[in-house]
C-alpha cells in the first residue's frame, strides 16, 4: 500500500489523480457552503446587541481560521520538500499560497465590514486583526520571493526556508501583538468580544469552515495541476497530453 502511495509523489502520476479529485471536493464545498449559509442566515437567531450585521462572522471567522491553517500546511509541505528534495511538495506549497493569502484578505475585509456598523470605524487595531494583517504580509512575501527567483528548484528551496522561519515566528508575532494591545489600552474594542455563541451559531461557523476547507483543497489541486504542466512542460508526458488535447 505505501509503495503505491509513493507512486503519487511523482508529478506525472499525481496529475491525473488531482484532476479526478477536483470535482468531488468542489461539490462537497458547494453543499457545505449551502448548508452553512442556510444556518447563518435563516436559522441562527438575531443577536441582541449587534442586530443582523453580526452575521458576517460566519465568513470572517472561518476565513481567519483557514488563513492560519493554510499557512501551517504550506510551511509543512515546503519543509518536507526541502528535507526530502521532492519536486511535488514545493509545487504544493506554491499552489497553497494564493488561496491562503485570499482567505487572509477576506478575513481582513469582512473584519472591516463588521467594524463599520458595529463600532463606527472600518478598521480597529485590535490584536486579532493586526495579526491577520501581518500574516497577509507573510503570505505576500512568500509569493513575492517565489516569483522573483526564475529557477523553480531554487525558488522552492528559498521559499521553504522563508516559510519555515515564518511558521516559527507566527506564534511569537501573535503573542507580541497581544502584549501590544494590552499596553496601549486605548484599543479596548476587540473582535474577540463576539456575541456569546449560541449552538446554532457555532454549527453555522463550523459548516462554513468545512466548506472553506473543501474549497481550498479543490482550488489548490486545480492550481497544482497548472503548476505541474508549467514546470514539467519539457517532459515527454506533458507533450503527449498537449498533443492529445
Amino acid at each position: 500500500m505505501t509503495s503505491e502511495l509513493y507512486r503519487y509523489a511523482a508529478p506525472q502520476a499525481f496529475f491525473p489523480l488531482a484532476g479526478k479529485l477536483v470535482p468531488w471536493f468542489s461539490i462537497l464545498a458547494g453543499l457545505l457552503a449551502l448548508a452553512g449559509l442556510y444556518v447563518a442566515f435563516l436559522v441562527a437567531p438575531t443577536d441582541a446587541t449587534q442586530g443582523e450585521a453580526y452575521r458576517i462572522i460566519f465568513i470572517h471567522v472561518p476565513a481567519a481560521w483557514m488563513s492560519m491553517f493554510i499557512y501551517l500546511v504550506m510551511a509543512g509541505w515546503a519543509g518536507f520538500g526541502l528535507a526530502f528534495n521532492t519536486r511535488l511538495s514545493g509545487m504544493m506549497a506554491s499552489a497553497l499560497a494564493p488561496t491562503g493569502a485570499m482567505f487572509t484578505f477576506v478575513a481582513l475585509w469582512t473584519g472591516a465590514l463588521w467594524g463599520k456598523p458595529t463600532w463606527g470605524t472600518y478598521w480597529v487595531w485590535d490584536a486579532r486583526l493586526t495579526s491577520e494583517l501581518v500574516l497577509l504580509f507573510l503570505y505576500l512575501g512568500f509569493i513575492a520571493l517565489k516569483g522573483a527567483i526564475p529557477d523553480p528548484a531554487r525558488a522552492d528551496r528559498a521559499g521553504a526556508i522563508l516559510a519555515l522561519v515564518g511558521v516559527v515566528n507566527v506564534p511569537i508575532i501573535y503573542f507580541s501583538v497581544q502584549w501590544w494591545n494590552t499596553l496601549h489600552q486605548g484599543a479596548s474594542i476587540s473582535m474577540t468580544s463576539a456575541p456569546s455563541m449560541a449552538a446554532t451559531m457555532l454549527i453555522g461557523m463550523l459548516l462554513m469552515a468545512l466548506a472553506a476547507w473543501m474549497y481550498s483543497i479543490a482550488v489548490t489541486l486545480a492550481r497544482l495541476r497548472k503548476i505541474i504542466i508549467e514546470r514539467e512542460r519539457d517532459a515527454q508526458w506533458v507533450r503527449i497530453q498537449r498533443n492529445a488535447a
Partner: protein, 222 residues
C-alpha cells in the same frame, strides 16, 4: 585548525573601516528619517513624546534594512562568498562573524545615537536609558534575521526591497517589545518584562537567523 570566527570578524571590520561611507550613510539616514516625523505631524511636545519610542524604533528598522544588501552582495560578486562556502570551517560560524560585524557597524552606532534623537523628542532621562538598552538588545536581532533575508534575496532582481518585505513582518515582535518597553517606562509600568521578552526573542533569532542564512546561501550559490 584554528577557528575562523575572529579572522572573519577582523576582515569584515577592516573592510568596513576602508568603506567608512557605508556605515555613515546608515547613521545619517536614521537621523534624517527620525527628524522628518515632526515635520510631518507637527512639533506639539506631548504628541512627539508619545510617538518617540515608535519613531526611533521604526527609523532604526529602516536604517538596518538599508544596510542589509551589503552583508553578502559584495562577497558574492567578487567570489569570496563561494570561498566561504567551500571552506572546511563551519559556515554558521563564518556567517555569525559577518552578522557580528554588521551589528558593530550598523546596530551599535544606531543604539548609541538613539538617545540623542530621544532628547529631540522630549523623552525623560529614564526613558532614554530604556531606549538605549532596548536597542542594544534589539538591533542584534535585526542583524540576525536580516542576514536571512539578505541571503534569501541574494542575486535576485529587486533584492533590497524584497528583503525588506520578507523580514519586516518578522521584525514585528522586536518593534512591539522594543518600543513597548520605552512606552511602558513613560506610563509608569516596569519595562523589565518587555526587555526580557526582547531578550528571549534575541535568543530565538540567534538560532533561527544563522540557520536560515546558511541554508539560503547554499541555495543561492547552487
Amino acid at each position: 585548525m584554528s577557528p575562523a570566527f575572529l579572522p572573519v570578524l577582523r576582515r569584515e571590520l577592516q573592510i568596513a573601516l576602508r568603506r567608512r561611507g557605508d556605515a555613515l550613510n546608515v547613521l545619517v539616514f536614521f537621523v534624517v528619517v527620525a527628524s522628518l516625523f515632526p515635520l510631518g505631524v507637527g512639533p506639539e511636545p506631548g504628541l512627539l513624546r508619545a510617538m518617540a519610542a515608535g519613531v526611533v524604533w521604526i527609523a532604526a528598522l529602516l536604517a538596518a534594512l538599508l544596510s542589509l544588501p551589503r552583508l553578502f552582495a559584495a562577497d558574492h560578486a567578487d567570489g569570496t562568498l563561494e570561498q566561504m562556502l567551500v571552506s572546511p570551517q563551519p559556515l554558521p560560524l563564518i556567517v555569525l562573524a559577518k552578522i557580528a560585524a554588521h551589528w558593530l557597524t550598523t546596530g551599535l552606532p544606531l543604539a548609541i545615537a538613539a538617545p540623542l534623537i530621544g532628547l529631540q523628542y522630549g523623552l525623560p532621562g529614564d526613558a532614554l536609558g530604556v531606549l538605549l538598552v532596548s536597542l542594544l538588545i534589539g538591533t542584534p536581532v535585526l542583524s540576525l534575521l536580516g542576514a536571512a533575508g539578505a541571503a534569501l534575496t541574494l542575486g535576485v532582481r529587486g533584492g533590497g526591497a524584497l528583503a525588506g518585505l520578507l523580514v519586516l513582518p518578522i521584525f514585528v515582535p522586536v518593534l512591539v517589545f522594543g518600543a513597548g518597553s520605552v512606552t511602558a517606562m513613560l506610563i509608569g509600568i516596569n519595562p523589565s518584562s518587555y526587555l526580557s521578552l526582547l531578550g528571549a526573542f534575541l535568543a530565538v533569532s540567534s538560532l533561527v537567523g544563522p540557520w536560515a542564512a546558511c541554508a539560503a546561501l547554499r541555495v543561492a550559490l547552487d
